[in-house]
């Protein structure tokens, strides 16, 4: 993430409260920056930019745009090592997920998620399973693949904000 100094004007002081109200973000303010998350993070070992401690601190400070606009946010592998080892019980991986959700609300959505969402709405499955695979199941003695129920599924998802967002973007 960027190294430039923090300007008072870019601090959104209500950002931390917004995060703290979301599932998984409740304990954000408990973090005392010990760095256990970053030192145990498998991705941080090989990435020059992904540092969970830094993301948490930026979220606490209210550096909303820096956090949400950053591609780095999407590097977390969701292994939950940070969550399990945090001495303050901060659900670090869940805070990252909350931040990703907020980024998505603002339109920062990597293509892979749009594709998977479209596929789930169409077939129930996150990937488009080719006809050949279905035939091969038969010859391997596997039972037919359970079918999706797009009508029923779309009914349950009708009022989900994110869906409208993606539907507009996908097609």
């Amino acid at each position: 993430m960027t190294e430039k100094s923090v300007k008072a004007s870019e601090i959104k002081s209500d950002f931390k409260y917004k995060i703290s109200k979301m599932h998984g973000g409740e304990k954000l303010m408990r973090c005392f920056q010990c760095g256990t998350c970053t030192s145990d993070c498998p991705v941080a070992r090989f990435s020059d930019t992904y540092r969970p401690r830094q993301i948490i601190r930026m979220a606490q400070l209210g550096l909303k745009d820096r956090v949400l606009d950053s591609d780095t946010l999407w590097l977390c592998a969701a292994c939950f090592t940070c969550t399990d080892r945090c001495p303050q019980d901060v659900e670090v991986a869940s805070v990252i997920r909350v931040l990703r959700n907020l980024a998505a609300e603002e339109g920062h959505i990597p293509q892979v998620f749009k594709d998977q969402c479209a596929s789930i709405l169409e077939s129930g499955y996150a990937y488009k399973i080719p006809e050949l695979k279905l035939k091969k199941r038969e010859s391997s003695g596997l039972p037919p693949l359970p079918k999706g129920n797009p009508d029923s599924l779309c009914k349950t998802l009708r009022s989900v904000d994110f869906l409208k967002h993606v539907e507009r973007k996908v097609e």
């Binding site: 997920r97 909350v98 990703r100 959700n101 998505a104």
Partner: protein, 300 residues
């Protein structure tokens, strides 16, 4: 003898039918031998995990919808994918413990005539093996102990973490997979950073980071001369098997370590012919260890 529930609703997930069918073929085979009856899901939608990063709400609805379908069937869910198991477990626990959230999600489900009540459990295949089938029965099913094999295990993350929601084994020192491997007669080797993530979720965002993680693991496994790596997750398997050649080329390494789904290993120990366990679908050549197993004398 205690009679645990031995009938489950099979939740396949998306990755397995898409590209990891060897796991399904071998798992169905051994579960049949162990008297676990599988009922297919009446209909299917993704567990929700892949969309959690962009919409937690959507993940909750997708998972709850599957739990509601299982409740209608009156059966506990078994999954082969730890991601699916973890998600269904987590959402089950969240909704059971939080009435406001449950009511909110049920409002969505009601639109399709469904309701989450919290009457079923979801378990991963490995948890079913150790808790419902039981180690004794598994040991008894072994007719050809694999004493000639020294292998390494890889649990992956979602079978164990986050601990608060999964509540299975010890994420810092997991024992179940080792125990299950040893039940086949094979030796399970210790190696460095055993609990390290495979990197699969980072594929597509940064292939380089993801493949470096997988390479690190393969290096550690190679260092202890393991003849095979044993996995229980479709995504971990893709990282080490499907991507092994790619990693070798990218980092100028040589591994040749076959990556087996656990039920393939147990299947061999049950004397099931390799062709019935879908060994031909593995990307890394496993003929060397298969030859070793086939040439060994059967001694019960």
């Amino acid at each position: 003898m205690k009679m645990a529930q031995q009938k489950f609703l099979m939740f396949l997930g998306c990755a397995i039918p898409y590209r990891v069918s060897a796991f399904e073929i071998s798992a169905r085979k051994i579960l049949g031998k162990l008297d676990v009856e599988l009922v297919e899901m009446p209909e299917f939608n993704c567990c929700g995990l892949p969309l959690d990063p962009v919409s937690h709400e959507m993940m909750l609805i997708l998972a709850a919808r599957n739990l509601a379908l299982a409740e209608e069937k009156g059966l506990n869910i078994i999954t082969l994918c730890p991601g699916c198991a973890g998600t269904l477990k987590k959402v089950n626990k969240m909704l059971k413990g939080d009435k406001a959230l449950r009511d909110e999600i049920n409002c969505h489900l009601k639109e399709a005539g469904l309701q989450f009540k919290g009457t079923v459990d979801a378990k991963h295949f490995m948890q079913v093996l150790i808790e419902d089938v039981g180690l004794e029965k598994i040991k008894k099913s072994v007719s050809k102990p694999l004493a000639m094999l020294k292998v390494a295990e890889h649990n992956g993350c979602h079978i164990l973490r986050p601990k608060e929601f999964i509540g299975f084994d010890d994420p810092e020192d997991p024992k179940t997979l080792k125990t299950l491997i040893e039940a086949t007669g094979a030796t399970c080797l210790d190696y460095m950073d055993e609990t390290e993530c495979c990197g699969a979720p980072s594929v597509g965002v940064s292939d380089k980071v993801a493949l470096q993680l997988a390479r690190d693991k393969l290096n550690h496994v190679k260092n202890v001369d393991a003849q095979a790596l044993i996995t229980i997750c479709p995504f971990c398997h893709i990282m080490y098997d499907t991507n092994e050649l790619r990693i070798e080329k990218m980092f100028n390494e040589v591994y040749g370590i076959p990556v087996l789904h656990y039920p393939q290993l147990l299947g061999l120990a049950m004397s099931i012919p390799p062709e019935e366990l879908a060994f031909n679908e593995l990307r890394v050549d496993s003929s060397k260890i298969l030859k070793q197993v086939c040439e060994a004398k059967t001694n019960v």
